[in-house]
Amino acid sequence: METLIPILAAAVRSGTPILYATLGEIVTEKAGIMNIGLEGIMLMGALTGFSATLSTGRPWLGLSAAFAVGACLGLIHAFLSVTLGSNQVVCGLAMTMFGGGASALMGRNQVGMTIKGMAPLDIPVLSELPILGRVFFSQDIMVYISFILVFFLVFFLRCTRPGMDLRAVGDNPRAADAMGLPVARIRCTYAILGAGLVALGGAYMSVVYNKFWAESMTAGRGWIAVAMVIFAVWNPMRAALGAYLFGGVDAFQLRLQAAGTSVPTPLLMMLPYILTILVLVFISIGKGRKISLSAPSALGVPFYREERD
């Protein structure tokens, strides 16, 4: 048990970037906007977060800046897909390529530098709990915020008026419009906020988890998050489970690498991706119907009021 607890704690940290990205994408997709440019947005977030922290020395500023840059990218995506009604898959792919390329270019002279990052913060009482305390409650603030975010989103989507409006514009924009909701404004708002959360996930990697910047450092986590949204059937709780699953395998393979096994490193590094996808596929077998029922019906479909069908 004693050897397992640090791995589990590391699993939570390692899963947190994916959790932020998945939550961001859930918010975006619930509004009916598909943004598959997560990888690019995460990378831009990671670079922004790192640079701002490096120059100001304050991780908080870095993370806020990352959120702002993500929101700007979300605004671009919203403008292209909501206002101009262009193809959202193409926009998303463009976002991925742009984010990957731009962050590599702009981050060239920051490779190899390090920052201090964020110190862990024990939560009184809760961190004293056996096992759970050290796994969940001796982490940094960003992890705690992600916990709160998960529960808040569940509550927000289910029990609040803006949450209901958000679901409505993603499920039946025509009905939402006929009932007087400003469909375009709502869709844009959540595409922007969602992208901000995605960028925060990227920034967590560079500012808190690794404390350095490297080209393509998210290494496909954005794509895992895109898949995770579907397997989580747009449910924030299940998104957390999926993210920690990835984090768990990642933490485990890092230990193995450190311990020095005869298994080749690239194979080990593949492990979290392969296992996550296998597990996700396995638990979704036979749930096709549930997935198609939970999917926002108007996902990826632009809405124009005066278009006649």
């Binding site: 029990c159 609040t160 008026r161 803006p162 209901m164 409006d165 679901r167 409505a168 499920d171 039946n172 025509r174 009905a175 939402a176 419009d177 006929a178 009932m179 007087g180 909701l181 400003p182 119907r289 029922l293 939970s294 019906s297 009021r305 005066e306 006649r308």
Partner: protein, 511 residues
């Protein structure tokens, strides 16, 4: 124009013109509704009724013309403005979010709803309104679980919840059983009695004559006249709406049905939601026979059709064509055996709407000669085939290479019917063949179905229009919740009320 009860009309639309990319949907239309009035808006499909009302509801903006509320000019930029001004609309396709509960739909877009939804309060308010107007509903049900009639109740409540003064109903009875319609009219009477203005879009003369105070007919986007209902007749209205005398009557000749061609025994089929949509249905159709299938939409007709043409797997049961078992075969084998299908979703299922007329004409036979040659398609023969359909079935199209989505509803349906009927189908499965068509196209389609019957086709005709079923069918079945409620041998002699009861699920004996 308004003979007026002295007062200023509740709502007045003056000189409304609306164009959609070159097509004029409304031209200089005047229309007004007074308090306590039920005003019918009559017209053929495409006459511009829905467009006019969507303008009043703020969904479309007029290119010209103005709207006055209590005599004061208003501009509705969005439905939000219209609702705030007290104008509500129940669309033909209800504006409901299917994955939400009834109570969530009720408050959708209501401005002063608190951040955290006060579920109990909302449910109480719904109970209050639904009690007052006799619209019973379970507020916690998900909308997709409700029948069409119940969904309409939700859509009505949605507007009453917003305290609207003018309620627009777009063909509200098209989706109801006769009994449900009676209840709807009770609600409407109650509303007009309380001083609401009700606009009632319809093309059913009988309802217009018995349930409204005033009628405005639209023809090709223009106001063809407004009259008091008590001072007019069905014939006069029909002429006003069409500009000429047209009847829907078709001659169904007496024919002796041939041998049994198509047999279905105890089939069970799952719907998209995973619940059984068709349970233990059995019937057979003979040559030269039309079997009508009545029922309110959503009672398993769609799933039944899809199963009968091989598009949806059976849970159990048998389908026999000429004595040969068909279940489990590919849709292509169904086609090869001569089972043809005219689906209700013409653009989505019946046609590939982005492809041109030629491609759509050969879509069910491109694999065989003379159209297909191995891996290649003979486009010259294909064009000839398309040309034949267009000529034989009176399709008007700019060219053979027009994408079918640009055809009007009537021409699209004629093309679809032509494609299926030109193959001399042995069995024909037809769903809602005249949905959304104008009177002349409707008549044409019905005549073609009767011609197919004379040529020996065994036809299953699914429709929600009882008059259509009674005019065309040799026998009539009624479907309710996936089951056949009864098979009537001589449908024309059965009173409509009895069929209505069967459609609402009453057992045969009670009916």
């Amino acid at each position: 124009m308004t003979e007026g009860r002295g007062a200023v009309p509740l709502v007045e639309m003056r000189g409304i013109t609306k164009r959609f990319s070159g097509v004029t949907a409304n031209r200089d239309v005047n229309f007004s509704v007074e308090a306590g009035e039920v005003h019918a808006l009559l017209g053929e499909n495409g006459a511009g009724k829905s467009t006019l009302m969507n303008i009043l509801y703020g969904l479309y903006r007029p290119d010209e013309g103005r709207i006055f509320l209590d005599g004061k000019p208003v501009i509705f930029r969005t439905p939000r403005d219209a609702i705030a001004a007290g104008i509500g609309m129940v669309h033909q396709h209800f504006m409901l979010v299917h994955t939400h509960t009834v109570w969530e739909n009720m408050i959708l877009g209501v401005k002063d709803t608190p951040f955290v939804l006060p579920k109990k309060k909302i449910i109480n308010r719904i109970a209050e309104i639904s009690g007052h107007y006799g619209l019973q509903i379970d507020p916690s049900a998900m909308v997709w679980q409700l029948s069409t009639g119940e969904q309409q109740r939700v859509a009505l409540l949605q507007m009453l919840y917003r305290n609207v003064r003018v309620l627009i109903l777009d063909e509200p009875t098209a989706v109801l059983t006769p009994q449900e319609s009676v209840r709807l009219f009770e609600t409407i009477r109650r509303m007009s009695g309380e001083g609401h203005g009700v606009v009632f879009i319809s093309h059913k003369m009988r309802e217009v004559m018995s349930e409204t105070h005033k009628v405005t007919a639209l023809r090709r986007g223009e106001n063809a006249g407004t009259v008091a209902t008590s001072e007019t007749t069905e014939e006069a209205l029909a002429e006003m709406m069409m500009g000429r005398k047209v009847t829907l009557d078709v001659n169904r000749s007496r024919l002796n049905a041939g041998k049994t061609l198509f047999e279905v025994r105890n089939i069970r089929v799952l719907g998209d939601r995973g619940v059984e949509a068709v349970s233990e249905v059995s019937f057979s159709i003979k040559q030269n026979e039309i079997l009508g299938l009545a029922g309110v939409a959503g009672n398993g007709q769609q799933e039944l059709c899809e199963a009968l043409v091989g598009l949806r797997p059976l849970l159990s049961g048998e389908i026999k064509m000429n004595g040969c078992r068909m279940e489990g075969s590919s849709p292509r084998r169904f086609i090869r055996e001569g089972i043809y299908y005219i689906p209700s979703d013409r653009k989505g299922v019946g046609m590939a709407s982005g492809m041109d007329i030629v491609s759509n004409s050969i879509i069910k036979k491109y694999w065989s000669k003379p159209v297909g040659h191995g891996a290649f398609i003979d486009w010259r023969n294909s064009a000839a085939c398309a040309k034949r359909i267009i000529e034989d079935f009176d399709v008007s199209a700019p060219s053979l290479h027009t994408p079918v989505r640009n055809l009007s509803g009537g021409n699209l349906q004629k093309l679809l019917m032509g494609r299926e009927l030109s193959e001399a189908p042995k069995v024909l499965i037809v769903m809602h063949p005249t949905w959304g068509l104008d009177v002349s196209a409707t008549r044409y389609v019905r005549e073609q179905l009767l011609a197919a019957r004379e040529n020996g086709s065994a036809t299953l005709l699914i429709s929600e229009d009882l008059d259509e079923l009674l005019a065309l069918s040799d026998r009539l079945a009624v479907m309710f919740k996936g089951k056949f409620m009864g098979l009537l041998d001589d449908p024309a002699s059965v009173p409509t009320e009895k069929i209505g009861l069967l459609m609402a699920g009453a057992p045969v004996e009670a009916a």
